[in-house]
């Protein structure tokens, strides 16, 4: 009898679970319970996009939402798959030698460094405009190496320095560490760009996914701290809306390489408490957006974050900010850097470049 009470109590304690647990900063912390499987079928991908998704599947990635952070960090990425497609097509997989790189620290933590991309053809005494770029990965996975394609391409196409910012990752450093690092890197660029051939009066912000969020959030911080205003913001499929019932969260619930369960997984590791998800730095659609520079938003049709970009564009418009947003049909999350093998990515980059070019001109 007593034993059965004990069993019942134990079962209750198991059900109560870690409700009042302190959030763990361990890269071995277990993932959240996986949400019920969605029956939604994502829209079909364009043939060249599908070829990358197939190459990704061939590399055997495990579902991120079922893994610990350390195991998630060693999975093959969509960018790895795009490079594999290049090899299959007989193209070079080497980074474009028309752009050189140099790594410089902007803070004391080993993760606080930036990779500066510079066109190899630029004269050594040239003063070039600057794009500060933030990579994606939900603030938990991926790094400047994973996101090499976009900054390299922007540097070449815009004859600009692109500063790709590494930052501390969650769960080791939780929100707002990434936002703090992004803002610190922007201030560092304004202060030190002249030392490495950058024009601190012509600085744009850019980013993909979690980095697309950082680009907007950093512009807000710059405004509030009275720093030099960026001349333009390129925000590619940003995290920008914490509502759980957005259309894209449903219709792209099982999309690849990003699904809705992964968004919950990222939040589980980067947020200190559920309240962080409502912070205007993450839930950008509720932020004070007034006075921001012109914004370009790129979205993919087959992406649970599509509605974030669309609703952010509406919020920016309401705040009087000049904004253009485009959703690229048949494209998925992470497509933007794949211009060498995916036509939609080529078109999206060309559009983004055409928006950035006049803003960065003297």
């Amino acid at each position: 009898m007593k034993a059965s009470i004990a069993v019942a109590l134990l079962a209750m304690s198991a059900l109560a679970g870690p409700a009042i647990a302190q959030p763990s900063t361990s890269p071995n912390a277990p993932p959240p319970a996986t949400p019920r499987a969605s029956s939604a079928k994502p829209a079909p991908a364009a043939a060249d996009m599908q070829a990358v998704l197939d190459a990704h599947a061939a590399l055997g990635p495990k579902p991120i939402e079922t893994l610990t952070p350390v195991k998630a960090r060693i999975q093959p990425s969509a960018a790895d798959a795009a490079i594999a497609v290049k090899r299959q097509k007989g193209m070079s997989t080497a980074p474009d030698p028309a752009v050189t790189t140099k790594d410089l620290p902007y803070g004391a933590d080993p993760m606080q460094y930036a990779r500066i991309y510079r066109p190899a053809s630029a004269p050594s005494d040239a003063i070039l405009p600057v794009i500060v770029y933030y990579h994606g990965g939900g603030w938990v996975i991926a790094d400047v190496n994973t996101y090499d394609a976009t900054p390299r391409s922007l540097s070449r196409q815009l004859n600009a320095l692109v500063v790709s910012v590494e930052y501390r990752h969650a769960p080791e450093a939780k929100f707002p560490a990434q936002h703090d690092d992004a803002a610190a890197a922007y201030a560092w660029v304004l202060k030190s760009a002249v030392g490495w051939g950058g024009d601190a009066t012509r600085v744009a912000l850019a980013g993909e996914s979690a980095g697309g969020n950082l680009a907007i959030a950093t512009a807000i911080q710059a405004r509030d701290r009275g720093l030099t205003k960026p001349v333009h913001i390129l925000s590619v499929y940003p995290i920008a809306n914490s509502a759980t019932n957005l259309p894209s969260r449903m219709d792209s619930a099982t999309a690849k390489p990003l699904n809705t369960a992964m968004l919950k997984w990222f939040g589980h590791y980067y947020a200190r408490t559920p309240a962080d998800l409502q912070d205007p730095r993450i839930n950008l659609v509720t932020a004070d957006l007034k006075g921001l520079p012109p914004v370009t938003i790129v979205n993919a049709q087959i992406d649970p974050l599509r509605s974030d970009g669309e609703t952010l564009a509406a919020a920016l418009r309401s705040a009087g900010v000049p904004v253009e947003q485009r959703t690229f049909e048949g494209m998925t999350h992470e497509f933007f850097g794949m211009a060498a093998v995916v036509r939609g990515a080529f078109d999206a980059q060309a559009w983004a470049v055409s928006r950035l070019q006049p803003a960065l001109a003297k």
């Binding site: 004990a6 870690p18 993932p31 093959p76 090899r87 080993p110």
Partner: protein, 160 residues
């Protein structure tokens, strides 16, 4: 009743963070072994063709250090009574080696350096995670000893 009292500390455990899901010793050994194998194969490939003394010196150091870490993990695994199967590349590592084979000259060097930067970030994540919470003490100690070696490689790569 006594039993219920005895359970109170257990119930309170429900308020602590959920237990870490650190890699099992066999998974750590397999992951570290694959990473070392990729390092050796890619570095040997680049040494066959590279004319760049900096790349050659780095590749030579990679072969030496990753041969040593494989041996150290093997010794620690034996002490932990963990079987060490022959290391095998993951599908991604197999693809990375194929990319190096398909390049030549400075393009191979450049692809090698780019791969090394990505692979060392991942290797550091694996070693740090096991060094912090690994369950087999000899392997945990081996991981802790490998961490500064990987950090040194990352510092060298930042100059390239």
């Amino acid at each position: 009743m006594k039993l219920v009292h005895a359970l109170i500390p257990i119930l309170m455990l429900g308020a602590t963070p959920a237990a870490a899901q650190v890699m099992a010793p066999t998974e750590y050994v397999k992951t570290a072994g694959a990473s070392d194998l990729y390092e050796r194969q890619s570095s040997e490939l680049v040494m066959q063709s590279s004319q760049d003394p900096k790349v050659r010196a780095f590749a030579q150091m990679m072969v030496a250090h990753h041969t040593k870490s494989t041996a150290d993990v093997k010794t620690a695994a034996a002490r932990s009574k963990v079987a060490v199967p022959p290391p095998a590349l993951t599908p991604l590592q197999t693809e990375l080696i194929a990319q190096l084979r398909s390049e030549s000259g400075p393009a191979r060097d450049a692809r090698y350096i780019a791969q090394q930067k990505a692979a060392h970030g991942q290797a550091l994540a694996v070693q740090q995670a096991y060094a912090t919470e690994g369950t087999a003490p000899p392997l945990k100690a081996a991981a802790a000893a490998i961490v500064p070696v990987v950090q040194h490689h990352i510092q060298e790569l930042m100059k390239m």
